[in-house]
Amino acid sequence: MTAGITAMLVGILIMPAALLWLGHRLRRRSARVRGAFWGAMTGHVAAIILGMTFGMIPPEEWMPDDRMRGAFALWSFLVLPLVGGVIGWLRAPSPSPRDL
């Protein structure tokens, strides 16, 4: 099994499970975790649309030097939620001293 296929399987099976776990009792979690959740969720939804589109390109149109298809159809399911999660984490308001 190639690294790309492994990334895709993690992205389509483990990542939704992680998001479901993270989304449990979301309102009780900190602002940073909520930001990471919504960032990752946005990334995952974007990955579903992009991955589905690129995944259905027929083989006769595959090119030896084509990197876009592999990037979107395989890696996006894992990478986009992670990137979205990090962006959401960083953009969330940091806890004020009163909350600490």
Binding site: L13, P16, L20, M56, P58, P59, E60
Partner: protein
């Protein structure tokens, strides 16, 4: 001002609780696989209308007994594909042959990236159509075969997940109705 009365404690049947979590987890985790299977399934259902599969209208030009040999027909199809290719590949092989005596044709499918299919007249060997079979890739994607022989397990997993989601969904809909009826009778 009346005091706020706390709602009575809702005790869920253990089976209902399990059904809820199986429904939730199977639904969320298998969303992508099920979406891909659904989309490819719809496309495959309409493969003729979408032009993914060549449809040749033909009548037999002679009795089936006088049809050319399979080897001769395969050779004609292979030569046709190599003559029409921009970059002929000597490694191209015949994958399968679909003989249709009622229509007097044979469909010869090649083992190449485009799954090229040549339709020939069974009796004369005349080339009726050359085109790619777009549905072959969709079928592989639908079954999970595109990811290798073990890939079909992913499709199996999604199918089992869908069954569980359907059964647990049905239970979650039915159980409150059953328990309400029981409460009404008591």
């Amino acid at each position: 001002m009346s005091a706020r009365v706390p709602p009575p404690e809702r005790r869920r049947h253990p089976l209902t609780r399990s059904a809820f979590y199986v429904h939730l987890w199977a639904g969320v985790i298998l969303t992508i696989a099920l979406t891909a299977i659904s989309i490819t399934g719809i496309l495959l259902n309409h493969k003729r209308g979408l032009g993914l599969m060549p449809d040749v209208d033909h009548r037999p030009t002679g009795p089936f007994a006088s049809a050319l040999s399979l080897a001769a027909l395969a050779d004609t199809a292979l030569r046709q594909v190599q003559a029409g290719a921009t970059a002929p590949d000597a490694r191209t092989q015949v994958d399968r042959m679909d003989v249709r005596p009622r229509d007097g044709i044979v469909k010869v499918r090649m083992r190449d990236a485009a799954s090229t299919e040549v339709t020939l007249d069974l009796n004369t060997g005349r080339v009726l159509h050359v085109g790619r079979r777009g549905d072959v890739f969709l079928e592989k994607l639908h079954s999970g075969e595109i990811f290798g022989r073990r890939g079909i397990l992913l499709s199996d997993l999604a199918a089992v997940g869908l069954l569980l989601t359907l059964l647990t969904g049905y239970w979650l809909w039915l159980f409150p109705k059953m328990s309400h009826r029981k409460d009404g009778e008591a």
